[in-house]
Subunit: 453 residues, 2 copies
């Protein structure tokens, strides 16, 4: 049996050391658990990256942290930058992050400017002064490198071994959630592009409506931006806009593409398309976020005074987003190009909208529509000619909105600025800019009317 | 200044207690961190639930753990059961789990049979004996109850306070990941039902092909099951099957629905549809998992000898899944109902497939097709009459496959069992079972040809 002896000072020291070790271990685990908990709540990739960078900055007590994600297909490292939608993107072998992504090594650099792998150009551009750097590779569960964690300027000295261990553990946790978010984003991208392709396909059945659904989705989103609608409402609006004419698939082609006046019966047949839109869209198991899409998509031909179709709803019965669709649907129909004929005069188009205010359209949304910047109006009108638009022109046009243009158009004696604006706008509206660019006229994403291969 | 004194035994006891406390705390954090790390890797809801239940069972050293998820729309609690695809589902106020879901209270029950909230019926059915129960509510970040954790039969005694704390912490971590998985599953469900609706819509343009794409997706999946293909390949096959005729949207309706023989030019026009399918589907930003869908969908009219279209690919150039589509596409075309005329005789249909073996079709997939159980064959043939099928008949038909039926059909002197099988199958194949059920004949998910409302 062990003899009980009086404890000595050495024992106490030993206990104190062990306690201190436990305390630090405990603190580290608590930090990791908190970070894990916080980041696991975010499935949106951009927001997730920002959140991780914030957490690491706090935990490591450094000035900056950037998470670079490796895109193997493009061979690039990219990341979000705080504030706004901006992102960084560069070849995946460049700089400190590139070295770490390629070699898989951890780099703890006490003096950035003394390290030849450091690229001082970004500091030069931004005025920031990088001193210390800790960069660790981010690996997924298969141990593949999927990105790099880079922390800058530890407060109060260089990064230490504890920092390396902590950042390494965090990067492993973050990798899992980043892969989840990528999976979610990829699935959403597939869905979105599917809807857009469907819309384009349906529009393409009738050459007169080619690109129509895409354009009204863009116009509608501009109104949403003017009115500062939330992300989820904008998503519903965009989806309903893209799908509003889905029901046309059930309309007989002969009637859809008939040239000349329709008989009463044919017109009635066409008028059923929003009803079909609703019937078809209601078969889709939309997520909770998108559950109102069928109803909204089907209401684009309703009018405030109840004279619309298919349900003859009146003002308070028509969904708000449906009222937005009504405005942009008519605007696009009136401003679409027709073969061998110019667009209708814009004053006339806006006049038709105004005449319909409070009987057909909700004036509130016409007013919002008129706040769309002319640059966006031109970009959407000429959606199939993006590459032909002059960026300087767009910058200039971005300074005025539709209502400013309308004032100019209606002014008996426009001033110099107004004249310049009208001229610049008309250059695109009347498609003068396409003179001598015959080929670009056929640039349509899906074309059923051309020669078959 | 503190005077340095010799340490005494009380100090040591104190240190030992503190160390022990840290050690336990540390162990708990480590467990939580591990669980978090493990479950955050899983975004598939079913697999996630199984994983969580496994982890908890180990950590809490109990015999069983079930995670019930609350579905507010149906007012039910549900969970996966180990082994197979089975699930439990019951009204969300029943039993111990129901009490916890409703009250939000933690229940630690040392003797289940002494508690009146306990429902002993499940034990009676399964022969299991429940002794101790620990049930805690699972709350999301908004503190809403989204489910219940229920652990049974702690090994070596009742559940203790430590168990409660641990399960509470785990349930909070699990809640986040379960909500992520639900979001992911919801998005996938929307996408899947969208594709299915699109397929149905396109088939509906021509009454002769109503339901065709859905049926070939079902047949193709049966072949995949026979061949034991992996989940991701089955997903690609299913998607390609649903979308294989998407290109028909670009085929002129007058030709698509023409009665009587097509001219050569018209036939050539129709033959472009797989080319259109590919062109359209290639606009879609498919996820990596689905990236081959356009190519596979477009190859359903290719033939091994190179005489197919649109590309005239030969055997080794045709994708495997495209070869499966070729078989089921022809099978469905030959066995689809025609108005006022019976289906083609099944021996004849299978004869046509066999004649095409090695020139048109890959024999390997014809052989796999013939292994489909007759119950599934009937269910798919009569996809729009699910409710009219007799479950006893299906159970009986499930004991034989197509090749067994073919042997019987070709036998000069079929035995009693063969005669019974043929009779039972023919009852459905010739649609005798619909006698006097005129109304059910019109049960089509989307109908464009009927009266407009």
């Amino acid at each position: 049996m062990a003899k009980i002896t009086a404890p000595n000072t050495a024992d106490i020291k030993d206990y104190q050391l062990k306690l201190e070790q436990y305390r630090r271990e405990h603190e580290k685990l608590q930090i990791l658990l908190n970070i894990t908990h916080n980041i696991s709540r975010e499935l949106d990739l951009s927001k997730l990256l920002m959140l991780i960078m914030d957490e690491v900055k706090t935990v490591l007590q450094c000035d900056r942290c950037t998470v670079f994600v490796l895109n193997r297909e493009t061979g690039e490292l990219w990341s979000r930058v705080a504030h706004g939608e901006k992102e960084i993107r560069f070849p995946s072998h460049l700089g400190i992050a590139g070295f770490v992504a390629t070699s898989g090594e951890v780099l703890n650099i006490p003096d950035a400017y003394a390290d030849e792998r450091f690229n001082p150009n970004i500091d030069k551009k931004t005025g920031y002064v990088t001193r210390t750097i800790l960069a660790v590779p981010m690996r997924n569960k298969l141990s593949e490198i999927i990105g790099v964690f880079q922390s800058l300027n530890k407060i109060g000295g260089p990064f230490c071994q504890d920092d390396i261990e902590l950042l390494d553990a965090i990067s492993s946790i973050a990798a899992t959630q980043i892969e989840n978010a990528q999976l979610y984003a990829e699935q959403k991208k597939t869905f979105d592009s599917f809807i857009e392709t469907l819309a384009t396909t349906i529009d393409a059945r009738d050459p007169l409506t080619a690109g129509h659904s895409r354009r009204i989705a863009l116009y509608a989103d501009e109104i949403a931006r003017v009115l500062n609608l939330g992300d989820s409402e904008r998503e519903v609006l965009r989806t309903a806009a893209l799908l509003h004419d889905y029901g046309k698939i059930a309309v007989r082609e002969a009637i859809l593409t008939k040239e000349g006046k329709l008989t009463d019966e044919e017109f009635k047949h066409i008028q059923h398309h929003p009803y079909y839109t609703r019937t078809i869209l209601e078969k889709i198991n939309f997520s909770r976020a998108l559950k109102d899409v069928p109803m909204i998509a089907a209401s684009h031909h309703e009018k405030l005074d109840g004279s619309g179709y298919p349900q003859g709803l009146i003002e308070r019965e028509i969904p708000k987003l449906g009222k937005i669709l009504a405005v942009v649907d008519v605007f696009d129909a009136l401003t679409s190009k027709r073969h061998y004929r110019d667009r209708m005069n814009l004053t006339q188009v806006l006049g038709i909208l105004s005449q319909g205010a409070n009987t057909h359209f909700d004036d509130f949304f016409i007013a919002a529509f008129k706040k769309i910047p002319l640059s966006r109006l031109v970009e959407i009108l000429e959606d199939d000619h993006q590459k032909d638009l002059d960026l300087n022109d767009l910058e200039e046009l971005g300074k005025s909105d539709i209502s400013a243009l309308l004032s100019a158009l209606e002014s008996p004696s426009p001033d110099g600025h107004q004249l310049a604006m009208m001229k610049q706008f008309n250059h695109y509206y009347s498609r003068d800019y396409l003179q001598g660019k015959k080929n670009s006229k056929t640039a349509s994403p899906i074309k059923f009317t051309g020669k078959e291969e």
